[in-house]
């Protein structure tokens, strides 16, 4: 095996974005051998995605900029190859899976990719069926793509990529939206492929998931890549869990209460009774209805049955705008929630004191980019800003839908300490997250969704 040329070899790679004078990444040297699972770790904005873009050909073809250095696959230089040509050897999973899905049905999506590679129709049918079984998607075979949760979409796309058995897989945060069972399923599948001789290079923040399974780790810092020993991994989030509040149960004010809420094809949601200052984690497997319940609470969806009380008042018939006075909701995709012309303006909305906005900017480490346009921020910064914009209005209840995804340790710490501040001041937090670190820090009351009571 040692004699074989690496499946992927990168030498002295550097990339400078268009309009920049300093390279975003430089002196990048890495290898990927058959049967290896290698992790590329680094803080938000350190250049991980740029490295991946250079390896897949997205940079400079689509991003624009200056690339130097060489990329080899099985000893053959592929630096000038197109994305499609490289895809023959690499299964590429991007951060936003929605842009890699092109049909409207699960079964069709699997067939689409295989048709693109001109496989014989008989083989396509067989491969599609085997992928559906392997990725536990048989039940969803005839579902529309819109009916899938974010995690299910990611699993579907991985099934599409792996069906063709590429030499290697380059994955950008594949565990981001997966529940614990989904993580185990995917990790098991990846390790099986690795044992079969395929190689996997992945970007992932939740390193605790991979510490035992990965062969090597590269760390990227300020655009430079260096090997990292597994024992040097910084895994735990450093915000210490606080002692449980001394307030007795009787003293707590019930701020939100639900009864027999149901919607669509989901089993009836469990009844909630949430007090001021309480932290509730909605837990359940992908597609069980966590986001749907948050939407029902915020008013974005109307329940088919059941009742909702907010601050002791019947709120089932209130619309989303009326509920927004008490409830703030941070969505999965921050791009939908940023409207102002600068980071600072995003927080200084009508009714928000400038001091409060400044305090939140500082807490979320966004003061240095206060003048920037919100859409010029990195994804992690955008998520923090979207959280800040919601908290600035001082809602009594804050709903968070998987907003911790893709946050490096530092960024996550900032978010969690801001949220701790919010709940310490009697704010109520109801959130979804698959990251056990988050639950470990916030010590929430866990409500399981998706089971018939």
């Amino acid at each position: 095996m040692a004699q074989e040329p690496p499946l992927l070899e990168v030498t002295d790679l550097a990339f400078t974005h268009l309009g920049q004078t300093q390279p975003t990444i430089q002196n990048v040297n890495l290898t990927l051998h058959p049967g290896e699972l290698v992790v590329l770790a680094g803080a938000t904005g350190s250049g991980k995605s740029t490295v991946l873009n250079c390896l897949t050909g997205i940079a400079p073809e689509h991003i624009g900029g200056q690339l130097s250095g060489q990329v080899y696959s099985r000893g053959q230089e592929i630096t000038s190859w197109s994305i499609r040509d490289r895809s023959q050897r690499m299964g590429i999973l991007l951060q936003n899976v929605e842009t890699q899905i092109f049909t409207d049905q699960v079964g069709e999506e699997l067939a689409f990719g295989l048709e693109n590679w001109n496989l014989p129709p008989g083989e396509i049918q067989a491969l599609t069926q085997s992928a559906l079984t392997e990725f536990d998607l048989v039940e969803q075979q005839n579902w529309t793509i819109r009916q899938l949760s974010a995690g299910q979409k990611q699993r579907l796309l991985l099934a599409c990529l792996l069906t063709r058995q590429p030499d290697m897989l380059l994955l950008d945060e594949p565990f981001a939206f997966l529940d614990a069972a989904g993580v185990q399923l995917l990790l098991g599948l990846l390790l099986k492929r690795v044992q079969q001789g395929q190689a996997v290079l992945l970007i992932e923040h939740r390193l605790e998931l991979l510490k035992e399974s990965c062969d090597r780790i590269y760390k990227i810092e300020s655009g430079s890549v260096s090997p990292l020993h597994k024992s040097a991994l910084q895994i735990p989030v450093q915000v210490p869990p606080e002692a449980p509040s001394s307030t007795s149960e009787a003293e707590k004010t019930i701020i939100l209460q639900t009864q027999n809420l149901s919607w669509g094809g989901y089993p009836p949601f469990p009844d909630l009774q949430v007090s001021a200052g309480e932290i509730v984690l909605l837990k359940g497997e992908n597609g069980c209805g966590k986001t749907t319940l948050l939407k029902l609470l915020s008013g974005l969806l109307k329940p088919a049955t059941g009742q909702l009380e907010i601050q002791g008042r019947e709120a089932t018939r209130q619309n989303v705008v009326q509920r927004s006075r008490a409830i703030g909701f941070v969505l999965q995709n921050p791009n939908h929630q940023l409207f102002a012309e600068s980071v600072e303006a995003e927080l200084t909305q009508p009714g928000v004191a400038p001091e409060r906005a400044q305090k939140l900017l500082k807490q979320l480490n966004l003061s240095h980019c206060a003048e920037k346009h919100p859409h010029a921020l990195s994804q992690g910064q955008k998520r923090r800003l979207a959280l800040g914009a919601v908290l600035a209005k001082q809602p009594q209840i804050c709903l968070l839908d998987e907003i911790m995804v893709g946050q490096d340790t530092t960024s996550l710490e900032l978010m969690l300490s801001t949220l701790k501040n919010f709940t310490d001041n009697s704010g109520t937090l109801i959130f979804t997250s698959h990251d056990p670190n988050v639950a470990a820090v916030l010590t929430p009351h866990v409500v399981t969704i998706g089971t018939f009571s």
């Binding site: 689509h62 895809s87 842009t99 049905q105 974005l300 409207f339």
Partner: protein, 230 residues
């Protein structure tokens, strides 16, 4: 786990895409030549009947109705002729509506397969592919941005002054990002307009196609008869 939710395709989505494309061209072409109100009403009535196959939200229908009223009113003011203004509105709807009916009832995979069959120029196939994927994505984005505004306590329905900053800016940003990302996404999935592509589900002529074809011919014949035969 939620109860399994099967795809419920409308009968129209199972019809051969070529038939629908042909019918759309036929209807648009005819609507340009019609001069009488009766055939125009028959044409538009049929299109509206087809539109019942689409699950349009009442809010969208409301906006379409509002736009139609504004167009009719302003045309009437310009022409100083209400019957002419109403006829122009009907003609506009007859030109505009068949395409979305076709687009929203043709699964993307079926469209690609039909384009493959007729060997359209590659640049055209790619463009149509991207457009087919792009518009549903943008529709989804528009809804999410709208909801995000509501979550901030801003109901854009009653705040047209906020449409630019609250709706257009994020939407344009998403459009620019998506346009590029979707092109990259297509390539990562192995799509190339110049490379050969197999077809795992070739289109076959079915009884439903024959029935649809017969009804469509009868409908077009009736329109022609009402216009020129009497």
């Amino acid at each position: 786990m939620p109860t399994p939710r099967q795809v419920r395709r409308s009968p129209l989505s199972r019809i051969n895409p070529f038939l629908k494309i042909g019918l759309s061209f036929g209807l648009i072409g005819l609507s340009l030549f019609l001069r009488h109100i009766a055939p125009m009403l028959v044409l538009l009535g049929g299109v509206l009947l087809l539109m019942t196959q689409l699950k349009l939200r009442p809010l969208i229908l409301g906006y379409i109705l509002l736009m139609v009223c504004i167009f009719t009113g302003s045309t009437a003011l310009l022409l100083q002729n209400w019957p002419e203004a109403i006829f122009s509105t009907l003609r506009l709807l007859a030109i505009v509506l068949p395409t979305p009916v076709l687009a929203l009832t043709t699964p993307p995979a079926d469209l690609i397969r039909s384009l493959q069959t007729v060997r359209l120029p590659s640049f055209l196939t790619l463009s149509l592919m991207l457009i087919w994927r792009f518009f549903p994505l943008m529709q989804q984005e528009l809804q999410r941005i709208w909801e995000a505004n509501q979550l901030r306590g801003i109901d854009l329905k009653w705040r047209p002054g906020k449409w630019f900053s609250g709706l257009m800016v994020p939407l344009v940003f998403q459009m620019v990002v998506y346009a590029d990302e979707v092109t990259v996404g297509l390539q990562t999935r192995g799509y190339s307009p110049t490379e050969p592509r197999s077809n795992s589900k070739p289109l076959h002529w079915r009884w439903a196609d024959t029935l649809f074809c017969g009804v469509a011919i009868a409908w077009l014949t009736l329109i022609c008869y009402l216009e020129w035969g009497r």
